[in-house]
Subunit: 337 residues, 2 copies
């Protein structure tokens, strides 16, 4: 079933009908988001969330080879969604209440996120004492998340005929020093309560050029900066501005285009610490951005924990193994019991 | 009258009707090219050529301020065209035959050139002992012309998530060293029979980028190289390949996209040497490419000589002055007498 961002309706309907068949669950559908909550009387409520969508690709390539499910979204995150559905249907009694959140449009611009839609329209459905976001983490707890900032540097020059370039100034040639600066970046490593985050800085786009015989007067460089949780997006933007400042002239422009905030590790929460202990693996810092930051904004302690190798996400050959799914299911079931 | 490349028909018709009114001229129209030839019995035939078209722009901004004609094409090369028309209509007797060539589509891809069209369809119309191409040269003779070569360098990398760039390779970051190499280029200066040519090397376009969170696996850099007449385009391409070779890996691609050949100074021709002497100014090497190279291919000695500062060509504020036009007219008339 195809479920590229924005086209999750059919999958949401499938999930909704499966969950509505479970007597112990109250099910609410908000747009293409589905939330199922146990309605018992336990004092503690735990939440497990996963996104329904995939990045663009061909779901027809999905297949099982040996113990591997291979194909678009296998690892990010159909495997973990299947485990969530199965545990939601499991009648085993629990000592906590559980909320299952299946949401739309995680893989595109954050403003369109189904989780933000829920937070705005039905924040009551997201209330919990702790939350797990089942993004792929290879069965370990990946705490918090790094922020992500996008900046644009515009370098100016002066047009001229390429036979007489000394009458102008080549803006693209000026990119050379800027790109070399970015390529020479040494990642800042931050230890927060024993959880390690590694920042990154990458040029993700360049453009420039007027015509084959014209010295170009404009060159643009788009930068993606991954920001550890000890800095805000604003602080990181100012750091980046300073990092390239000596390469810019008065006419040049440095601007932060957008940013998604980081989230601190939250491993002081006893529920999340217990989950980490149950995995038997060291806690890592999540280097990518995830909706753990959204739960942090909602003041709900949350962490990333899911099946599958996160390095396979968004690759055409992504997969998840049966052992990974079994391990994830066992650890999650124990945590929710 | 607008005459952007490809839309010269109205101007060609105007020129044609002016020339057909001159009894001493045989006038031929070939497409939007107009050729007018005196049909006397002198042994020597001199040719004067100019292109009818302009680069894109707004002809409505044309105006006269003091002794300046300002506006699109004023310098490149309506001013010299007007002088050509006036001299073609001048009944003063001459000791040589003269061919006047007004041709279309010089400012765009060479394959579409009206002069090449004439060379293919009616090469007889272009036969001459020496030729002047009235491109702007500020009243001096600019001998020969440099070639122009366009090359594309494609740098490869490997895609990765920007939060884990070490799992890939950023192709745009690799552009840094290439652009710095181009920016550090020291022009090669060549003296050919006392005429000096200065080569140039400019990046004229860059592109690269997949998405804001993806380490890009491809970056492209387009280079324009101006080539002195002591080298062929092939030789210059091989030199450029070697100039960047140490920055390229096996997967990268260096390719010469196209080239227009240079033309040597040809100042050994006594007619052209006499013209240069008549200007009273030192002969310069033409640093841009011009159709002098087309005449060289036709085995017709030719040089650039026209009114207006060549550094103003293709600029929105280009102009030509009355003094420049008078000086050009006087020198050209003397040469043709």
């Amino acid at each position: 079933m195809a479920s590229v961002s924005g086209a999750e309706a059919a999958l949401a309907t499938h999930v909704e009908s499966r969950l509505r068949a479970v007597p112990s669950l109250d099910v609410e559908r908000v747009g293409d988001n589905v939330v199922a909550s146990t309605r018992g009387h336990h004092a503690t409520r735990l939440l497990v969330a996963g996104h329904l969508d995939t990045v663009p690709g061909d779901p027809a390539t999905a297949r099982i080879e040996g113990d591997r499910l291979i194909g678009l979204g296998a690892c990010d995150m159909k495997g973990s969604l299947a485990v969530m559905l199965e545990l939601a249907e499991d009648p085993t009694p629990r000592a906590v209440e559980v909320t299952w959140v299946f949401y739309a449009r995680e893989e595109i611009a954050r403003a369109q996120s189904g989780l933000l839609e829920l937070a705005q329209l039905r924040p009551d459905l997201l209330q919990a004492d702790a939350a797990v976001l089942a993004e792929p983490t290879d069965g370990a707890v990946e705490a918090g998340c790094q922020g992500s900032l996008r900046a644009l540097v515009t370098l100016r020059g002066a047009r001229a005929h390429t036979a007489r370039p000394y009458t102008g100034r080549n803006a693209i040639h000026r990119l050379g020093a800027l790109l070399s600066r970015l390529a020479s970046y040494e990642p800042r490593v931050v230890d927060l309560d024993g959880v390690v985050y590694t920042e990154q800085l990458q040029c993700v786009a360049v453009e420039g050029g007027v015509a084959a015989n014209v010295v170009p007067d404009l060159a643009r460089c788009t930068i993606n900066h991954r920001v550890a949780p000890d800095r805000s997006i604003d602080e990181a933007g100012e750091w980046l501005r300073g990092y390239v400042a000596d390469l810019l002239d008065d006419d040049d422009v440095f601007e932060v285009l957008d940013g998604a905030p980081p989230a601190p590790p939250a491993m002081g929460n006893i529920r999340l610490a217990a989950l980490a202990a149950a995995t038997g693996r060291p806690v890592r810092g999540k280097v990518g951005w995830t909706d753990v930051a959204t739960f942090f904004e909602l003041d709900i302690p949350a962490t990333n924990f899911g099946a599958g190798d996160p390095r396979l996400a968004h690759r055409s050959d992504e997969y998840v193994t049966l052992v990974q799914l079994d391990d994830f299911a066992a650890a999650l079931a124990a945590w929710l019991r």
